[in-house]
Structures are given as C-alpha cells and as structure tokens.
C-alpha cells in the first residue's frame, strides 16, 4: 500500500499562487510581476501553474509560455535550493572566473546543459556583470556576495553550503 500523503508543501505553494493573483488584481497586464512572484515560490515556473495563471488571467497558456520563455530570468526547469551566480563579465573573466566555473562544475558534477544538481540543492548560473568589478572575480551564493574568490575558496564555499544541507 502506498503511503498516503497530504502534500502540505504543494497545497501551501498553491495557496500562495492564489494570493499572488489576488495581489495583482488578476490583471493580465501584470503577467510579468505575477510570474516573477510565482517563480520566487517554486524556484521555477511549473507548466501546470503557468496554465493556472493563464486561465486565471483570461489569457492563453501559449501566450504565458511565450512571456516565460522570452526572459532569461524565468526558468522552466526546477532550480536548486542554492543558486550560485558566477560573474563572467569582462573584469571577472580576466581575473579567472572561468576557473571558478570549472571548479563548481567538477565539484557538483554539472555541465553547461545541466546546471542543476540531481538532488536539486545547487544551480550554477553565470551572469554577465554584477557591477562589482572591484571585487573580481565575484560570486553570489543566494543573496550573499563573495569577492576576489580563488579556486580553493570556491571549493571551500561549496563544501560549506553542502555541510549546511546535511
């Protein structure tokens, strides 16, 4: 017999989506902030939620899909719990950001096409410039900024965040 589950997290997330729609008065013109808020809850945009949002706003699911795929900010794949953003702008690139990217990919077994770990704990993103060139190479993990990161420090940081999750 399968263990019965009331999926509390799903139910909770779902009521948040309803709150978000309320907050923006179900206005079709607010589709972008709505999707942003939904992505905050789910860390990506699940298909069924986009369909729900579309029918709630009275626009077609194809149009919502169009908006979601236009902006690189939106992700249609689940993202990891921890987002590692490595700046690969000119200054950071010169100061060795690609070495950091290699370290992260090796440590977390990631590739360019698969930027999220299987356990959904980490996602690697590269950004074009964080505007922190003085700190090059710069890395942001979740909301925290790390400057002048060496390969060794990068590995330590990954270990540190991994330990937190255990």
């Amino acid at each position: 017999m399968v263990t019965p589950v009331v999926n509390a997290e799903k139910l909770n997330n779902f009521s948040k989506v309803c709150e978000i729609l309320e907050r923006f008065d179900r206005q079709p013109s607010k589709i972008i902030p709505i999707l942003q808020a939904v992505q905050e809850e789910y860390r990506y945009l699940p298909e069924e939620i986009m369909t729900f949002v579309a029918t709630s706003l009275g626009i077609s699911p194809a149009r919502v899909f169009g908006v979601a795929t236009f902006y690189s900010h939106f992700s249609l794949e689940p993202k990891g719990k921890n987002i590692i953003k490595v700046c690969d702008g000119t200054a950071c690139h010169v100061k060795g950001s690609s070495g950091l990217i290699d370290v992260i990919r090796r440590e977390l077994k990631l590739t360019e096409k698969e930027p999220t770990t299987e356990d959904l704990l980490f996602t690697l993103e590269t950004v074009s410039c964080l505007g922190a060139c003085g700190l090059a190479p710069a890395v942001v993990i979740n909301e925290k900024v790390f400057g002048q990161v060496s390969k060794k420090q990068m590995k330590d940081l990954i270990d540190e965040y991994r330990t937190k999750e255990d």
Partner: protein, 675 residues
C-alpha cells in the same frame, strides 16, 4: 478614419478615401506590393518588412503601419527598395527548409512565388538555426517549424478572430518559434482544428494533414467497399485548383472524377444536411415542448463543437445532439451499405471530402462510431481531392459529369445551403415555418448586429412560429455572443455557429487563395449550384423520406434516429495535463476527489473546499482512501465550483455537499476493502 487628400505614388496622384494605411493606397494605385504579415482582417504587425516604401522627408518605412496623410510623396520600387526586399527574402530563405519539390504547399507558397518574382537566384547566407521537429500528432494539421517565416499571421488569426490563442511566439531572438504552449503538439492543446492558421500561412509551415496515401491504399484493397461523400462547399472551390471558373464546375464533374479514382459509390453530404434540418428542427421543438427555454446551438461545425466543449462545457446540453451532416451520411451509409453488400461495417470505408480540417478531428471522436467502428474512416480536404484528381490523371477541365449514387446522392437546395453561414439557420427556420404554419416563410433576412458582418440576427414572427435566431461565425464572435446570452443581455432560441468567418466555403481545407474576394465568389458559386436543383425543401427529398421509412422506424426524432443520428459531447481541458495531486493514496484509492481551481471556480470558493478537504482527510483519517487533486480548470466556469467525487460531477459545490458525497461513496466501500 475619413482621411481625405491626395498622395503621390511613384508620381501618380492617388486620392485618399478613408484608407487605413499606405499599403492600401499603394494597392489602390494598382501597384503589386508583396506582403507576408498583412491581412486586412487582422491587426497590423509590420514584421515582414516587404511592404517598405520611400516616403519623401521621412525615409524608408513599412507602408502597412504608416497612416496616409494628404500630400505624402512616396516611391515603391526604387533600386534601394528592390534590393532591400530581395535581401529580406534571401535572409528568410537562409534558414528555410527549402524542400519545395516535396512540400505540400509548393503550388500555393507565397515565399516561393516572391523569391521568383523578386529575382532571388541564390541564397548568399548560411543556415544558422538548428532544425526543429515537425508536429505531426494532430489529426487535422501538421506544423513544420523549419518552414516558418515568423510573420505571425497564424498567431494573430487564432488569437484575434478565433479567440483561442493555441499558438504563439516563444523564446527570443534567433530562437523565436511559433508553438503551442509548452512546446506541446497541437493535438494536446486548445486548438479547435479550424485550420485558418494553415489558410493564412504564406508558406508550408502549417498545412492540413494529408490522408491521401491512406485513401489510395484503401481503394487498392479489394476486400473493402470504398465510398465517398462530398460536402456542399467543396463544389464551390475545387475549380480554383485547376484554374477554371467555378461557374463551369458542376458537382457531376466531381462525382465522375471520384468514380474514375475508384470510389464504388459517391454520395452528397447535402443529403445529411437535409436529414439534419428535419432532426434538428424536431429536436428544437421537442426541447420547447419539454419546457426547456434555453438557447439551442447548432452542432454541424466540429471546430465550434470543440470550442464549446473546452471553453463552455456548461453549454454541452444546449448543443443540438444532431450529428453533423458528415456524421449522418457516415452513420446511415455504413449501416445500409454493409447490409446490402453483406459486409461488416469495418469493411465499408467511408471517405468524406470536406472543406474543413476540423472534420478530420471530428471523425476520430469516439462518439462517431458504431460499436467501435468509425462511421467515417477518412476525411480529405478540398485540397487533397484536387491532388488526388491530378494524381489519377483525370483531366478535370474536360471530364463529363456523372450523377451521384442513391439514396444519399439526392439533396435539396436547403441542404446545399449548409456550405455557407446562415444556411443551417435558414433551413431550420423555413422548415419550422412549413411544419407549423403549413406555408413558406415570407422572408429570411438576418441583419448585422453591432455592424459585425459575422454576427447577424433574425426575428421571425409568423403564424404559430415565434423564433429569434442568431448566426455567428468566428469563435471569438461566438464567445461575445455567449457572454451576452449568459448575462441576460440578449436571448435567442437558436444560434448557428460556424468557426470560420464565412462558413464552410471559407474552411481551412479549401484551396489556398490570396484573393480577398474569394469568399464572395465561392458563395455565388454555391448559390449557383443550387439553382439547377428541383428539390427545394429537405422534406421534399424522396430519398430522405425513403430512408426515414426504411431505417428510422418511419419517423423523425424516433428511437432509431436517436441511435443513428444523434451524439453526445464531453467536457475538455484546454491543455492536456495531469492534475496536481495534493493527497495521494495511490492507484487503488477507492474515491477520487477532483476540485477545479480554474478562475471562476476559484472565485466561487474552490480553494476553500480544497483546503478544507485537506484538513478533513486528516481529521477523519481518510488518508489512504482518497485521492485529492486540484484540476486546472474543468472549464465548467459558470457553474463553479466544480468538484467531482468518484464519477459524480457536482456543480456549485460546497464543502457540505462534497463531504456528504465522499461519505456516501466511502460508506459503500468498507474501510480496508481495498486491501
């Protein structure tokens, strides 16, 4: 817009007369201006850039998106403009799947024509896009993204005229593609299969799905009796494929061509239309007799029927239960032929020739079958028929006419009228008048509502007949009309809906035409085809009467007619999804509770039901015995919240009702019985 004045086009003075844009002025001046993305009935998009003109003092701009002003001086074909247009085509061709010789659209491809007209002789640019897979799952349409020029005509048609929005642009920059939501197939989204996307597509990026090969195969199979039926609208347009005027096409030529191709019997779907008039009128009168005062919607158009099932399942029992004429001829034909030939129904192959891509979807409906055997096996569009005639080596221009086979080959002018909008409504109104008043209706002249030529109404008040009808085409117009009926603003007894503006003559399976007057021409051709017919009224059709005697127990609306000629409808989701499971007891759970969380159900409190059900499952220790799911819109919006418990569907549900039903259903299954 009543802009007056004069514009100089290539030195010729052109007076303005309310033209909305420069392109119209240029075309009025008799100048050929190529366009991909301009359609007068759609919004101006300005994407293809082919209609560029040089405006004195302003420079080069697209004429479609520039409003005309008095005194403008424009040039349309300067060396620079010609070079730019040529480059645009070269760039489009760089990433185009240039398999023109094997492309179904080859004979009507605007891109191919323009490349030739503008003198493009080589493609100097390299292919930069990865090839994308075609979408072949829909029964009605096939999409080849590699042939798309991103003009957006299909997107705007689907959105602006049909109000469906099944396809849209996705991704960005070089990756842009026209696609259904989530890169799904058209078969799995809210596409109503009307095929107007294919009709406006300038290339072969969206085309009707061809069944020609399978029909040839069936024709070659000696164990099968292969018969055909041909829809009214096909005769109005087939001549376009052979470059002969419609006035010289008689249905007899088509019938003879079909015989040469190898069909054993050839029938006319107009016979089914005659049958529909009798059944549908009777159905309407029965509804009124029962005290059902609600609007009845026609059900001949499968695009509209799918639209209604998806977006308005609350109207399911207001759709006429009559099968479409294709269904009626299929149903009666298969039964009769299998009896006379002593064959099983599966060995009688019914091929419909239709102006319509949605009919291809309709034939796959499980409701249109006799014990699992489809009543229509294949649907060919007018385009496909034209191709088969050519492939068979028939010289269509010269072939002599032959008559259709009986009993399903004889029809009335009223039945033939089903091929254009208003035909169904008029036939029903006239038959009702004859039945109730014993005399012909004095006139039937629907008038436009809100200046919309695709929405007309007519009020009939003659003798015992008191009837208010609306005739609407284009599902977006239908949507507006439904909204007004539901809000009580308007009321009608019968509403005829056709998904394609103009009706079947403008169907998505008709030959591709870039002639803006084509619908009027086909309408005239259809009318012309009716003139030679001596039978005007469906009930005067002697073979309709014979079939009623022989197959329908001698009466319209009887038990046999119900079995053979009527159908049912289903609620459909817009997008194929699994619902979101919130409490999962596994496959064996005795009771499944689905709560619709679509917009209007949500507004009516479905979320509270969902949350309370979650609590209730824990309190009552129902876990393991209930699957609780949030479904994304069961589209029964005006009756929300919609909850299904087991197989019982509840509208306007509240927590009390749901719990009561769950307890009832759980009660009939003792705890632990599932183990």
């Amino acid at each position: 817009m009543s802009q007056k004045g004069i514009i100089s086009v290539n030195g010729t003075k052109v007076p303005l007369d309310g033209e909305k844009n420069l392109l119209q002025v240029v075309r009025k001046a008799g100048i050929q201006m190529p366009t991909f993305c301009y359609h007068s009935e759609l919004s101006v998009y300005g994407a293809c850039r082919l209609c560029i003109v040089d405006i004195e003092g302003k420079g080069i701009d697209t004429s479609c998106s520039t409003p005309p002003r008095d005194g403008m001086v424009i040039k349309t074909h300067t060396p620079k403009l010609r070079k730019m247009r040529k480059t645009l085509i070269e760039l489009l061709l760089a990433n185009h799947d240039n398999s023109c010789t094997t492309c179904d659209k080859s004979s009507a491809c605007k891109l191919k024509d323009l490349a030739s007209d503008l003198g493009v002789t080589n493609i100097p640019f390299k292919k930069t896009r990865e090839s994308r897979k075609p979408d072949i799952l829909s029964p009605s349409l096939v999409r080849y993204p590699d042939k798309c020029v991103l003009c957006g005509d299909c997107v705007r048609y689907c959105h602006e005229i049909q109000g469906v929005g099944a396809i849209d642009f996705a991704y960005r920059g070089e990756d842009v593609v026209v696609t259904p939501a989530f890169n799904k197939s058209l078969a799995h989204v809210d596409c109503i299969n009307c095929g107007q996307c294919a009709a406006v597509c300038p290339t072969g990026a969206i085309i009707p799905r061809s069944e020609v090969a399978r029909v040839w195969e069936a024709l070659g199979d000696e164990s099968k009796t292969v018969v055909a039926q041909i829809a009214p609208a096909v005769r109005s347009s087939i001549g376009e494929m052979f470059g002969i005027p419609e006035s010289s096409v008689t249905v007899g030529k088509i019938m003879n061509a079909l015989k040469v191709i190898g069909f054993k019997e050839v029938y006319d779907t107009s016979f089914g239309a005659d049958m529909t008039v009798l059944e549908e009128t009777n159905e309407f009168l029965q509804r009124r007799k029962r005290g059902d005062e609600r609007t009845m919607f026609t059900s001949c158009c499968p695009g509209w029927v799918k639209y209604a099932e998806q977006f308005h399942p609350e109207l399911n029992d207001q759709l006429s239960t009559c099968m479409s004429p294709q269904g009626m001829v299929g149903s009666l034909g298969k039964k009769l032929i299998s009896q006379t030939e002593g064959k099983l129904e599966k060995d009688v192959i019914m091929v419909s020739i239709m102006p319509c891509t949605a009919k291809k979807f309709e034939k796959e409906r499980p409701e249109l079958s006799h014990d699992g055997t489809p009543i229509v096996d294949f649907v060919l569009t007018t385009q496909e028929l034209g191709k088969m005639i050519k492939e068979a080596g028939v010289v269509f221009e010269e072939i002599s006419p032959a008559s259709a086979d009986l009993p399903f080959g004889l029809y009335s002018t009223a039945g033939l009228g089903f091929g254009a909008t208003q035909g169904v409504a008029e036939a029903v109104a006239r038959y009702a008048a004859r039945t109730m008043n014993g005399k012909e209706l004095s006139d039937f002249e629907p008038v436009e509502v809100e200046n919309n030529p695709q929405w007309k109404e007519v009020i009939i008040n003659e003798g015992a007949l008191d009837l208010k009808m609306a005739v609407v085409a284009g599902t977006k117009n239908a949507e507006t009309l439904i909204g007004k009926i539901q809000s009580g603003e308007v009321s009608y007894d019968i509403v005829e809906v056709m998904a394609c503006p103009g009706g079947c003559i403008a169907g998505g399976g008709q030959p591709v035409s870039y002639d803006s007057a084509i619908i009027e021409k086909r309408k005239a051709a259809l009318k012309n085809a009716g003139k030679i017919n001596p039978i005007h009224a469906p009930e005067e059709n002697p073979y309709v009467q014979k079939i009623i005697e022989k197959m329908l127990g001698g009466k319209v609306g009887g038990h046999e007619a119900h079995d053979l000629l009527h159908t049912t409808y289903q609620s459909r989701k817009r997008i194929d999804f699994d619902s979101m499971s919130l409490a999962d007891a596994g496959r064996e759970a005795p009771v499944e509770v689905n709560v619709c969380v679509g917009t209007s159900c949500f507004l009516r409190g479905s979320q509270e039901i969902l949350a309370s059900m979650g609590d209730k499952i824990e309190q009552e220790h129902w876990s393991g015995r209930i699957n609780l799911k949030a479904t994304f819109c069961s589209e029964s919006c005006s009756h929300g919240p919609t909850v299904t418990v087991g197989d019982r569907k509840m509208f306007k549900a509240d927590m009390g009702m749901v719990v009561e039903e769950v307890e009832k259903q759980l009660g009939s299954i003792p705890a632990g019985a599932e183990k």
